[in-house]
Amino acid sequence: MDTHTHIVRLERVSKIYHQGKIAVHAVDNLDLEIDVGDFCTLCGPSGSGKTTVLNMIGGLDVPTSGHIYLEDRKLATLNRSQLSRLRRDRIGFVFQAYNLIPVMTAYENAEFVLRLQGQPETQCRERVMAILKEVGLEGLEHRRPDEMSGGQQQRVAIARAIVTNPAVVLADEPTANVDSVTAGALLDLMQKLNEENNITFLFSTHDQRVMDRARRLIRLRDGKIEYDDVRSLPG
């Protein structure tokens, strides 16, 4: 198997939750590869396993069986600290509820991961200001989350996710809490980042607007792939 173009690879991954005495197969023997530069959406009804897949790829959750590889690194072999460093350096997260750190400004939220990496302040400043400009937040860098709209907060979250040049950005329902105009603008932004910077995006969503933009649409049902459609979209 050629692994060079696959940034993420899942081999026979299953995730079983136990609700009382009942075992729930959230993900069932899933094989999946995500290529470098993909703009890919996991969709499906509630409980189909899309968020679970995203969490397992991000190392936030562990599969019951099977193996997950990120850039050919087997996640199961990493301890907590190694997983933290992997997330810090190679994965960007965008959450439904923005999840910015409330005591930090937009600039500091975006800068946070770079500082965790130990990058010098001047280098961070240059990078963060460029990213904030790219996501359309120039001039708002000193605002705290409670001083920004939902759309602006999600832009900060996107800036935080991409500031380290991650291998993949995992976005869980990124448009769920914003109006349609803002959702459109956010998707424009992410699409632009994908096309211009070749950043891989993997979404989990119900939102038709996100699905319409995806170049690859993977539909899950009961933890299995129902269909996997690679599309060629205009523009």
């Binding site: 936030l60 933290s84 997330r87 350096d89 959450f95 005591v103 965790l116």
Partner: protein, 406 residues
């Protein structure tokens, strides 16, 4: 942003809770600094009083005298021994003891007669400055005596009143004479207060027919900071055949209390801080539970469990450092006030004693490095212990469940 800055902002974020937590820690630190200073003052006064009011640093007796204070068990060459001690740089004074009955009007009381070498005694003890009424002994008034305050009360006498002493002289004859109360002592210690009757050494010798020798030689180091054990060794060598003891052996209760003083202070600090620890634990647990989702996100973006642990610790460190600074300033200021003005206990008790040693009714604090450092160090230690559980809780949060926590 550095974790240190983030921790500081998190502290300010819920400022009401932080003020309550920090305030409680600062209050406890201030109280403990004051308590430690007052204890240091009490112990210092106790030691000083024990030495300078009566005992001296060292005492020399004839062998067996302390167990059986017999009029005939004397230091025969007392005069020469005092001279030798003074040559070696010590202050030394002879004392004579006898027992008998003192009477004034229709009242009588058993007394311990004390003959003191007034020239030398003043360099060994401060008793001559510790009079509540009248004046100290003088050679020009051989029938003037000083008595303890409780003895004065029980005999119903004041300065200028006459008392009669009756006892048995060394030659078996009746020793009796009329004396005038020249002065009344402040509280020195239970024994002196209740039964002490002081007269000059010559008056004692004449009354009790004891032409020479002494029952006791009290010795004081010229330099109070010099080594007491070395002084004991030196004096023992200068007084062969006699029993030489230092004040710790002469007053073991006070010595033991002083030895245990630091332990007592630490125990008190720990007990008080346990209450503080519950406040810190409660506050930090609330703070962690309120931010579970935030910790989940932090872990998701790459913050390690140790960094989360460190963040919660730093938040407590900020609060503890603020509390320690504020508590130290407040505690120090109050301690300085009580070091200068003292706490007047005279309204509560006319005489206070500690281990049988009389204390000045004005209880003064005494600020030492330990009285500030120990409460502050223990504040950090206790806060550090209290925050382990909340910090671990935050560090070990599973990000996947924390992110979706509501």
């Amino acid at each position: 942003m550095r974790l240190m800055t983030l921790a500081a902002r998190n502290v300010v974020r819920n400022w009401r809770r932080s003020i309550v937590t920090t305030g409680a820690m600062a209050f406890a630190a201030a109280i403990m600094i004051l308590f430690a200073s007052l204890m240091a003052g009490l112990l210092r006064d106790s030691e000083r009083n024990a030495v300078t009011m009566n005992l001296g640093d060292l005492q020399i007796h004839a062998s067996g005298y302390r167990d059986d204070p017999d009029l005939y068990k004397r230091i025969d060459d007392a005069q020469q021994l005092v001279a030798r001690l003074q040559q070696q740089g010590f202050h030394a004074s002879q004392r004579l003891y006898g027992f008998g009955l003192a009477a004034a009007g229709t009242t009588s009381a058993g007394v311990q007669l004390r003959g003191v070498d007034i020239d030398n005694e003043n360099s060994v003890t401060q008793m001559h400055r510790h009079l509540v009424a009248g004046e100290w002994l003088t050679e020009t008034d051989p029938h003037g005596v000083i008595i303890g305050r409780k003895l004065a009360r029980s005999l119903g006498v004041r300065t200028g009143d006459e008392i009669i002493f009756v006892g048995q002289a060394s030659d078996g004859s009746m020793a009796n004479d009329l004396y005038r109360v020249r002065g009344i002592l402040k509280s020195i210690g239970e024994e002196v207060d209740r039964a002490g009757l002081f007269m000059t050494l010559d008056a004692f010798r004449q009354l009790m027919v004891l032409p020479d020798g002494a029952h006791e030689i009290a010795v004081l180091r010229a330099n109070p900071d010099s080594d007491l054990d070395l002084a004991l060794h030196t004096v023992t060598a200068l007084a062969p055949g006699y029993e030489t003891l230092d004040w710790r052996q002469l007053s073991p209760v006070v010595a033991r209390i002083l030895e245990m003083a630091d332990v007592q202070t630490i125990v008190m600090v720990i007990i008080t801080y346990i209450a503080v620890a519950t406040i810190v634990l409660n506050a930090m647990l609330m703070s962690v539970f309120e931010r579970i989702q935030e910790f989940g996100v932090m872990k998701a973006v790459g913050v390690t469990p140790w960094q989360i642990f460190g963040l919660v610790y730093l938040e407590t460190l900020w609060q503890t450092a603020t509390a320690a600074t504020g508590g130290s300033v407040i505690g120090y200021a109050i301690a300085v006030y009580y070091q200068t003005h003292g706490i007047d206990l005279s309204n509560i008790a006319s005489s206070a004693s500690f281990g049988g040693i009389a204390l000045d009714p004005l209880w003064r604090a005494y600020i030492t490095a330990d009285s500030i450092v120990i409460p502050v160090l223990f504040l950090f230690l206790i806060a550090g212990l209290a925050v382990i559980y909340p910090a671990l809780k935050a560090a070990l949060i599973r990000p996947v469940s924390a992110i979706h926590h509501r």
